[in-house]
């Protein structure tokens, strides 16, 4: 199957390893991956910060870029959630119904990585090996916007050598929230400190998630405090064949 990788701007610019891992994983499973070069950003930050007017051109670019492909996969539930739920709404509210319809059609074949693996490919054991103590931060948008449910956990449980531990209060927000982390820095930090406590309580070596944005936030706290626990994208674990 040919898969267009919706890399997301954050992965492209700051966390290419999550994108490389997604490519490696999908190719290992026998699929052809393409990276449409016209892609930039889905516009989520602009939409959620109150600038849907500025996001409209980004939505149009996203839809035009990915429209030719049968399947679009992103290593980010948050960006998939934006494309699926916000693109049609914003386009419609700003009067571009044609774009809204196109966005809706594209959204129907746009998947978060865990959805794509479990629902479309029908695999939970992707042949990975990762001999580390890992805890999953399920992420708010994975759980409550895209509703991936336990798909990431099912994928992780099938990884060889993994010591998977559940952190307390796993479904609680880490406090990132996009510009919230800057506009309400103090509240965001208070939420992060509780999330770090829960990660450290289960003595995880690695915290993983399906979104680099939450991981960037959690990693920022983990490294600031020199905890020795690292943040790794789900795709990197699933792509791994170490040990």
């Amino acid at each position: 199957m040919q898969v267009a990788l919706f890399a997301t701007c954050l992965v492209d610019a700051f966390f290419p390893r999550a994108g490389q891992a997604t490519v490696a994983l999908l190719e290992r499973l026998g699929h052809e991956v393409v990276l449409p070069r016209e892609q930039t950003c889905c516009g989520q930050m602009h939409i959620n910060s109150g600038y849907p007017d500025q996001a409209l051109a980004l939505i149009r670019r996203h839809v035009t870029t990915f429209e030719p492909y049968d399947v679009v996969v992103a290593p980010s539930a948050s960006c998939v959630g934006c494309a699926r739920h916000q693109h049609p709404t914003v386009a419609r509210r700003l009067g571009d119904t044609a774009l809204a319809d196109r966005a809706e059609a594209l959204a129907a074949r746009t998947y978060d990585l865990s959805e794509f693996l479990v629902d479309v490919l029908g695999v939970t054991d992707v042949g990975a090996s990762y001999p580390h103590r890992v805890t999953l931060h399920p992420t708010c948008h994975s759980l409550r916007m895209v509703r991936v449910g336990d798909r990431p956990l099912r994928l992780l449980r099938a990884v060889r050598g993994i010591d998977l531990v559940e952190m307390p209060g796993a479904d609680a927000c880490c406090g990132f929230g996009g510009t919230f982390a800057v506009k309400n820095s103090d509240v965001s930090t208070a939420m992060l400190s509780d999330k770090l406590r829960d990660i450290l309580t289960v003595r995880a070596e690695v915290v993983t998630a399906g979104d680099v944005s939450c991981l960037m936030h959690i990693d920022g706290g983990l490294t600031r405090l020199r905890t020795g626990t690292r943040a790794v994208h789900l795709a990197e674990i699933l792509a791994s064949t170490d040990g």
């Binding site: 267009a4 492209d12 990276l35 016209e38």
Partner: protein, 487 residues
């Protein structure tokens, strides 16, 4: 001067505006470690109770959808439903008053109390009378209002403000309550301990005298049934039942969105509300009354229908579902922001996620531009809401209105520049190359520990990622074999 044309809906006035912007008030609240402990403990307890009781309901999702549908239908034909309510209440011997805003409502209630000659009233816990600042308005007219709900009494005696829609003293623990009672409750025993039965007994003794002497009671309303003119109060302590039956005159203030069309609609809401609000299958006291009944209960009944920004809210198709709210507080109990800062930081009497969408709509978003941003959009509120109010989407919608109300700003310029960059893959690639200079900042630890304002608000507590040597698109181009062209 007045002009002909479309009438404008009044803006909400009353206790809907705080003294400080949310981020500032929240920062102060975060330093109150006792408050964080009290609220963290209380919300965790209610969350667990609610979750257990919702899980035992096989038709919970259908009930939520039914609640949503009834509210949407009611709002779609609000004028006719309200007029029907007025007719039925009047036919049953009650008197209906219409108040455009808090000032009018307070004036109506004050004059009604003055007409009885009473100088004190007993009150049932009500959000709407908190919204309009009724106690303060009555005090200005020489009338003392006595709160009879235990938590509202704690708030009132402590010269405090409610911090939760259902549990107004959630920010207080029992030791603090003992101190407030010892300090401010007339006739309290000086050796009062913080044992909950002792605290309840002290309040009961104090309040019993008020119930027996008061001639006027003031309440809010959980529901008002248009087809019968029946008003409904749901409560836990029995103080409401005392207020609704003992005094001679009963004055009920309700927001116009509290009306429901039929008595059968209560079937849905009386299942949704107690489970969501207090984690109970059924609340201990549900009182319903229809006008006045000779020889039974109050001889006079007044119903004050309050707008105070609700019609303006109804005018916005993307925001009007906020009026579906049945004031259960479930969204507060699951909100990670509320859990850490408490209710006072929101400024308005309506805190938490629902407060962040109701308050700016009642006052106009320009008066509360920070509240729609007081959320990470984590979505826990939507999942907990018994009438399926999509609070996260509404917050996003209100953010756009808040930004628009500010017009040109430095922030708009910055976002515009970012959007301009992202509109072209070439400019985006150039920006990535430029950001790579940031690698210098992260030499020592492979992380960046300090960035200039406004990103300093990130690095104050968190490291920032060091830009990688190669972006994903650069790596893609450098791949030796490309099975898919993708160009």
């Amino acid at each position: 001067m007045t002009f002909l044309g479309m009438p404008t809906a009044p803006r909400g006035v009353g206790r809907l505006r705080g003294d400080a912007p949310f981020p500032v008030a929240a920062r102060a609240a975060l330093t109150d470690t006792q408050l964080r402990r009290n609220i963290g403990h209380a919300t965790e307890t209610i969350r667990a109770r609610r979750a257990a009781l919702v899980a035992e309901m096989p038709d919970w999702e259908q009930l939520r959808r039914a609640g949503e549908a009834i509210k949407a239908d009611t709002l779609a034909r609000l004028p006719e439903v309200l007029v029907q309510l007025e007719e039925q209440v009047t036919a049953a011997g009650g008197t209906v008053h219409w108040a455009r805003d808090a000032i009018e409502a307070n004036a109506i209630v004050t004059s009604l109390v003055q007409a009885t000659g009473a100088d004190e009233v007993v009150k049932i816990k009500s959000m709407v009378t908190q919204e309009i600042g009724l106690n303060e308005a009555l005090a200005a007219a020489g009338i003392t209002a006595h709160e009879t709900d235990l938590a509202e009494l704690i708030v009132q005696l402590g010269h405090d403000r409610p911090s939760h829609i259902v549990v107004p003293a959630i920010h207080r623990n029992r030791t603090e309550i003992r101190d407030i009672f010892r300090r401010a409750m007339p006739g309290v025993r000086p050796d009062l301990t913080d044992d909950p039965p002792q605290l309840a007994e002290a309040a009961r003794t104090y309040l019993r005298r008020k119930f027996l002497s008061a001639r006027v009671a003031v309440s809010g309303a959980n529901f008002a049934v248009a087809e019968t003119g029946t008003v409904v109060i749901v409560e836990s302590e029995g103080n409401g039942r005392m207020c609704l039956t003992l005094p001679e005159v009963l004055i009920t203030v309700m927001g116009i969105e509290k009306v429901i069309p039929t008595f059968a609609d209560l079937e849905v809401f009386l299942q949704l509300l107690p489970r969501s609000a207090t984690g109970e299958r059924m609340n201990p006291y549900t009182s319903m009354w229809t006008g006045v009944t000779a020889g039974d209960g109050p001889r006079e009944f007044h119903l004050v229908l309050l707008d105070n920004g609700r019609t303006a809210t109804l005018a916005d198709p993307d925001g009007r579902a906020a009026l579906h709210c049945i004031r259960c507080g479930a969204c507060l109990n699951v909100c990670p922001v509320y859990e850490r800062v408490g209710g006072h930081a929101y400024g308005s009497v309506y805190p938490g996620p629902i407060g962040a969408v109701i308050t700016p709509q009642l006052t106009g978003v320009a008066d509360n531009p920070d509240l729609p941003f007081a959320s990470t959009l984590c979505g826990a509120c939507f999942d907990a809401c018994p009438v399926r109010i999509d609070i996260p989407s509404m917050l996003v919608h209100l953010r756009a209105r808040a930004v628009a109300s500010k017009g040109a700003s430095l922030e708009r310029g910055v976002f515009g520049a970012i959007a301009w960059t992202l509109r072209s893959p070439r400019r985006f690639s150039a920006a990535i190359r430029l950001a790579r200079l940031g690698r210098l900042l992260g030499r020592r630890r492979d992380r960046i520990s300090r960035l200039p304002w406004p990103l300093s608000r990130w690095t104050v507590a968190r490291d920032a990622p060091r830009p990688p040597r190669q972006s994903l698109r650069e790596w893609w181009r450098s791949r030796p074999t490309k099975p898919g062209a993708g160009e």
